[in-house]
Amino acid sequence: MATSVVLAEAPEPDFYHAATKHKGILSWILTTDHKRIGILYLVTMLVFFFTAVVLGVLMRLEMLTPGKTIMEPQTYNTFFTLHGIMMIFLVIIPGLPAVFGNFMMPIMIGAKDVFFPRLNLFSWWLFVAGGLLALVSVFLPGGAADTGWTFYVPYSVRTTTNVLPALMAAFILGFSSILTGLNFVTTIHRMRAPGMSWFKMPLFVWSLYATAWVQILATPIIGITLLLVAIERLFGVGIFDPTMGGDPVLYQHLFWIYSHPAVYIIILPGLGVVSEILPVFARRTIFGYKFIAFSSLAIAFVGSLVWAHHMFTVGMSNTGMFVFSLLTFLVSIPSAIKVFNWIATLYKGSIELEVPMLFILAFIVQFCIGGFTGLILGTLAINIHVQDTYFVVGHFHYVMFGGTGYGLFAALHYWYPKMFGKMYRKTPAVVSWFLLTIGFNLLYFPFFLLGYFGMPRRYYDYLPEFQTYHQISTVGSWILFAGLVIMFVNLVVSLWHGKRATANPWGGETLEWKVPSPPPLENFHDIPVVTTGPYDYSKYERVVQEAK
């Protein structure tokens, strides 16, 4: 009796249980459903994430004492190279767009799938191929690449390690990233539900849109640059070789023409996640919607013109340095607009400290530290002093991990009920957040001091006076690791033992909360007609007003 009632209430099975063309594992790796592809990306990304985390923890362990602690210098070189390649190309670039963008964006704009579903699957296949190539290069004779993730010439042309497979891996991953961006721009242009005008789009979608354009327009440059390094290794045409008239500095320009916009590919969706989650747990209509939306585009645009601030010490005209320094400072304006709008949204809100919100609040603080140290680095005089020191590494990790990494964890805890139809336990999640945040700051804050006192990045050994800072940092890495383990054990255990999630556990107003958790195969039985903006919390605000 009871079953028939349930069936009558839920006529459509969720996408995990809907009938598929293929069975078993094939129903996943040959799927064109954007939700399944999102889950595929999540799983593969997490595999690479934990591999790279372990490499990072081992590197920190090596830095516990001066000289050799657990590994040889050459091993250390390959570890920081692999850690960089994996974390950047396999974790944080695809992390938010490919995982949560794929899963949520079509639902958020009221579509049944992305515009090119088969291309979407192809992007994931390329992603896996690139990742495997990066892993395989470790075990081939010759040893893993030891150039750093930046592949600077002339060393990357001369070293005998397996740079070629690593270059090809990055090239393939770039191609995958381009195709995802192309798919998203087309989807957002052509598949919004009736009534979903540009300014009724959720801000996460806006950030994905800005990101997708950078993916499309910047990635081909790294493609051709890495290809040229590969050609240089194979045929020696001399384009970057000074003995044949080539210019290694030109490589650095081309590399950063992509790789600086790449950090905006990484951070923009993180900023989008904050704008998405903050109003839900503050129960406030987002402050300055249009400013936040346009600031994403402004960051994408100005951020594409600042690449040479990575190269202030390699030789450039003074005019060039002034221009690039000025442009770098300009990026802080749209970034600050976002932060001010977030704070204004929190003001007089009814703040609920759910787990995603905790990650968001830590994000804002850490992103500010990362952002301000970025301005310090963009200052010409100071840059000369701290160029290529731990200061840069600290800044980078505050933005990339303290920012985007935290955005990733916030998104994971926010959309987990929607993706898996289960709730996780709150207490272990809060404990993991606490440990992670303590560990993160212990790990990376000493980097600023180390860098300021002159500790160069990527060095295997150091002077004895730096040891205290390195030890604090290493202890931080253990706490951070413990936090990560607790977080993911909690999330994995909850897949089986969690309570069933309702369609809208957080009280969100965007479209993904109007479909069941997990969503049915084609998301919507009838395409919704959108009449209000994405964060309409006026009813809560009225209650607060009346209470006064």
């Binding site: 721009v185 001399g238 384009i239 008239g245 395409i527």
Partner: protein, 208 residues
């Protein structure tokens, strides 16, 4: 907007040719920027070594380059005509026109093969003793010549393969009078191959 809404309302069964072409144009942007990186490098080195570049350019065979330019321009015409043909429902005419386009692509590649073969025969190839004995600007010129025309030739091959697939679609009737967007995006790719050559030709053959 209304047609868009109607297209969405039909869900998976919908066809949105404008969207498909938008996707292809975005992809063409990425291809242009890929070559854009090469054009930046060319510009930088031409600026650094103007005399050597002019001197080295005299060693290329302008006649072969001109013939290849004419071949590619004609192929763009035939592929555009194939779209008009299918719009009018002339399936086999369209099929033949795509076949002619592929034949022209092959003619281009054969020409290229002999051109490269001749250069290699006289000892002008990367790391050759003859080339290394020359000034730096000329080494870079020939380095760029091989990389850029090689990358372009690779795109000619990819384009020809795409067009071959279009021929299969035409023969099977998947591409027909009412649904020919695949042929359109295939032709767009072919025009890209063409326009890149339009820039490569003067940069290498004519600026002497």
């Amino acid at each position: 907007m209304t047609s868009h809404a109607a297209a969405v309302a039909h869900g998976h069964a919908h066809r949105d040719d404008v969207g498909t072409k938008l996707g292809m144009w975005l992809f063409l942007f990425t291809e242009l920027i890929l070559f854009g990186g090469m054009f930046i490098i060319y510009a930088v080195y031409r600026f650094s070594y103007p005399t050597e570049f002019r001197l080295a350019a005299t060693e290329l065979d302008t006649l072969v380059g001109t013939v290849n330019t004419i071949i590619l321009l004609t192929s763009s015409l035939t592929v555009a005509m194939s779209i008009t043909a299918i719009q009018e429902g002339k399936k086999w005419l369209s099929f033949v026109l795509v076949a002619i386009t592929i034949a022209l692509a092959l003619a281009f590649l054969v020409n290229k093969y002999f051109e490269w073969g001749h250069k290699i025969a006289v000892g002008l190839y990367p790391r050759s003793p003859e080339l290394l004995s020359r000034p730096a600007g000329e080494i870079l010129y020939f380095g760029l010549y091989y990389v850029m025309t090689g990358l372009h030739a690779l795109h000619v091959i990819i384009g020809a393969v795409i067009l071959a697939v279009m021929m299969v679609f035409l023969a099977k009737g998947t591409i027909n009078k009412h649904s020919y967007v695949r042929l359109e995006v295939g032709a767009l790719y072919w025009h890209l191959v063409d326009i890149i050559w339009i820039f490569l030709f003067p940069l290498f053959y004519l600026l002497q």
